[in-house]
Amino acid sequence: MSHSDTHVVILGAGHAGGTAAALLRQYGHEGPITLVGEEPIPPYQRPPLSKAWLKGEADAESLALKPLEFYAEHGIDFRPNTRATKLAREAKQVTLSTGEVLTYDFLIIATGARAIKLPVEGAHLDGLLELRTAADAEILKATIGPGKRLAVIGGGYIGLEAAASGRALGAEVVVIEREPRLLARVACEELSTFFLDYHRRHDVTFELGATVAGFEGENGRVTGVKLADGRVIACDAALIGVGAAPNDEIAKEAGLETARGIVVDLEARTADRSIFAIGDVAHRPMPIYDRMFRMESVPNALEQAKQAASAIVGRAPPPGEVPWQWSDQYDLKLQIAGYAFDVDRILLRGDPANAKFAVFHLKGDQIQSVEAINSPPEFMMGKLLIANRKPVDLDKLADPSVSMKEVAA
């Protein structure tokens, strides 16, 4: 139970940390809350950075989770431009980059993840960009435009969204991917082919099965991407989108267990009862798949923020959710539910030719995950079927003339 003198310190003022602070107040926590973030601005949403915002369809104000005044009005001590540097668990203290030491009753670690760097020759050149923060996005937006050539390294969702937005801004775009197909880690062959064709129709060019060996530059600025086969792909800027690693060092150094992130339970709590870890930095249990893993998605950050805030105020835990996320590219709405663990077959419903279809990943007659393109019913019903582990009639599922409601009946 939290009391009016219970101090909650939140490290990382991103989507998870910002949401946890607001929820604590919504749930009635009266004690002090300190929200420590290394970025200069209050918590904001990252998804639009590669989509609506990058294309100029959303402004900075709409990115912010809450207006800046919100924090003062709700007694949340928000500390921008401040990094947490050290955690002393026995004393329940965190040291900040300002030198100040905060004593907490509960600590929520929400430090997110950072973009993985490519350890290759020329990696220091100007014009090599990543896309993780609003500041990164500003630089990217200022760099791409009509006549500019952008190389995107990595054909995952963020890379492909940036490619679509780059085209909308009039830049030439080439995507360089090490695997022989796009989205190789996350999607099936049909989906890879569909996205490849769709982007090609928007004049994005591709180098598949191409390993980046280094970058070439002139006067300190990138001019080309050097591939392992010796070819050089000319560019004015290169966006590196090859994955993210959790910012879990502070926890690791303090002796908290880490795997691919800080290990927590279904309350988002670590083995230290007064410390929680939420969002991209957490390695969490996912009961419907009977395993633990780290997720990088907004719904996951929100779910864990609810778990931690509930545990701190002594409120019943929120119901478990099926992991999901979305992506927008051109006029495509992609919605993904679940993860394709232990899958033995794939089922296609609908027709990729008219850009309206869904790919179901199955384990026997059980849906493990669904990727739905412009198909909300398949996504919504698929998510429900994943949650309740109900076996499905695969013939009905394969037949788009049978409604999803009937499939689930």
Binding site: A22, R25, Q26, Q45, P47, P48, K51, S62, A64, L65, K66, P67, F70, H74, V298, P299, L302, P319, E321, W324, W326, D328, K333, Q335, P376, P377, M380, M381, L384, M404
Partner: protein, 106 residues
Amino acid sequence: MAKITYVEHDGTEHAIDVKTGLTVMEGAVKNNIPGIDADCGGACACATCHVYVDGEWLAKTGAKSAMEDSMLDFAENVEPNSRLSCQIKVSDELDGLVVRLPESQH
């Protein structure tokens, strides 16, 4: 600016001035009103910003897009006056709008 009243499921009312151009969902989220989760931030991808629009306002809030309609088709406790609040843009015309929130968004 339009005054919008958000009525929680338990009857608690929040009357908020929302800036023109924002969505009804953004007005709720930026003011920390419980009951609108808005997991996807307005991308019409989550259906956790579900509201009921009071009768006389339905015409003024405009028509649902096909995408919104099919998301709502699978949300819980949907009524004929259900909308996704991220798809309702606030204009001066909506001054006085009343929206009611469902018991839960999941």
